[in-house]
Symmetry: C2
Subunit: 297 residues, 2 copies
Amino acid sequence: MRGNIVKKYTESNPKTFEDRMCLILKMCKDAVQDAVNFNCRLLGVGISTGGRVNPQDGIVLHSTKLIREWSSVDLRTPISDALGLPVWVDNDGNCAALAERKFGHGRGVENFVTVITGTGIGGGIIHNYELIHGSTFCAAELGHIKVSLEGPECSCGSQGCIEAFASGMALQREAKRLHDEDLLKEEGMDMELAEPITAAHLIRAAGNGNSKANAVLHKASMALGVGIVNILHIVNPALVILSGVLASYYQAPVQHVITERVLVSAQSIKVVKSELEEPALLGAASMVLDYATRRTY
Amino acid sequence: MRGNIVKKYTESNPKTFEDRMCLILKMCKDAVQDAVNFNCRLLGVGISTGGRVNPQDGIVLHSTKLIREWSSVDLRTPISDALGLPVWVDNDGNCAALAERKFGHGRGVENFVTVITGTGIGGGIIHNYELIHGSTFCAAELGHIKVSLEGPECSCGSQGCIEAFASGMALQREAKRLHDEDLLKEEGMDMELAEPITAAHLIRAAGNGNSKANAVLHKASMALGVGIVNILHIVNPALVILSGVLASYYQAPVQHVITERVLVSAQSIKVVKSELEEPALLGAASMVLDYATRRTY
């Protein structure tokens, strides 16, 4: 089982619930059609989504304002009805952990955590080879681990969350702030150009010696590292797997913060970078593989 | 099974490893003698201790500087050899969780966490009716959840830990600071008296309207509350049980911080106060009851 993606369909996320559901159903039907061309039998539908998910019922319970109109949404029934296939749904962070368990660094590891640093920050926790979902399906909301009592405001409505310090969104916010104050200058980089300012600019500027950009990234790394130290002091996994666009950047500094700040007993815990291309999507697929073929429950 | 303590022996903690082991062995032998008078059969020895513990081997792996000379200590072998009885050892926080599971608010609860706010801060996490020990026996080190990137220095050598904000030690430190600055005054309270300044003075002063004392307690409650929010966002237990001398004080403010700062999906989670007299000791006893009688493993 190598976890190769045979075909991928990408669409931008519609703003309303109705448009989003229509698009999902259309993409599912397209995939059913295309499967014939690949000589594939579809075993079922696996869905990875943002927000808190009840995977037993296939329902998105609640989302932050990052995904509008995405609370109390039954995803299983309409898709299952339209396609005549079983449907499994989980949170994107949990799906990423399932992918690491089946295809990635988490294979055969009893306890590990995966932290996804992309636009937001999410994650999943494997304990005794199984996901921790929690009493109200709110476990492993790792982006909302708080490392400051005041700190920056977060999309969840609270503050001090590692997502508000270290996510792609947070770095973009800081990059824009520096740019507006004319502090993101660097040699050979024309900041007047039309391309939007992103975290990548910040990382490039820091790499070229921009001390303001460096300070922002240092704080972001510290926040993410301390957030992960909190995970180590709560569930003490054997391995931390970073994924998402910022994983390459964060791996070394996070390992450094852990070594500095964790209790002696947990200092041997390693931070590795995921080798999977799309962990959340692969994890959604792995639910179908595992449940439809009854390999594991 | 009511969890009553029949007899309790109390001694202050010797500073050296040798003196401590001698005292423990002496107290164990006294208890063996006394058991005859109570017409009791001793099933075994259960030990609750600070520090990280490998309960499979009965070894204290590592302690912070709160307990000197208490790392890599095999507790099982000498006690088992001296008494001819089986010996079970776990961390005090884990023991407290076992006590809540057997005798307290945790009975029949699949997932809960207990947080002990005494001199330090400790805790235990029950998931699927069992303790989470973690990959290096460092799980549920709840006192070392960090809620500040800078914050006060902690006994663990790091900083920003909730123990450094909200433990009895931390409140005593702040009470002494206010006292030294002559800011802990209150009507009818003679701060010149010989009794040592403690957290209790701080709480009393705050209750009498001392705004400096109030500010310290507000920050401590916020830190503890945010630390517990982090637990809710990582393992999402169904219940939070507070124990220790400061539990009565912290229950209401911690519940308030949770309501304000946790994700919507976890806002229904209740904070209750333990009704057990000595949860860590009862939990140590419960290991003996459960393991020696093979009721659970």
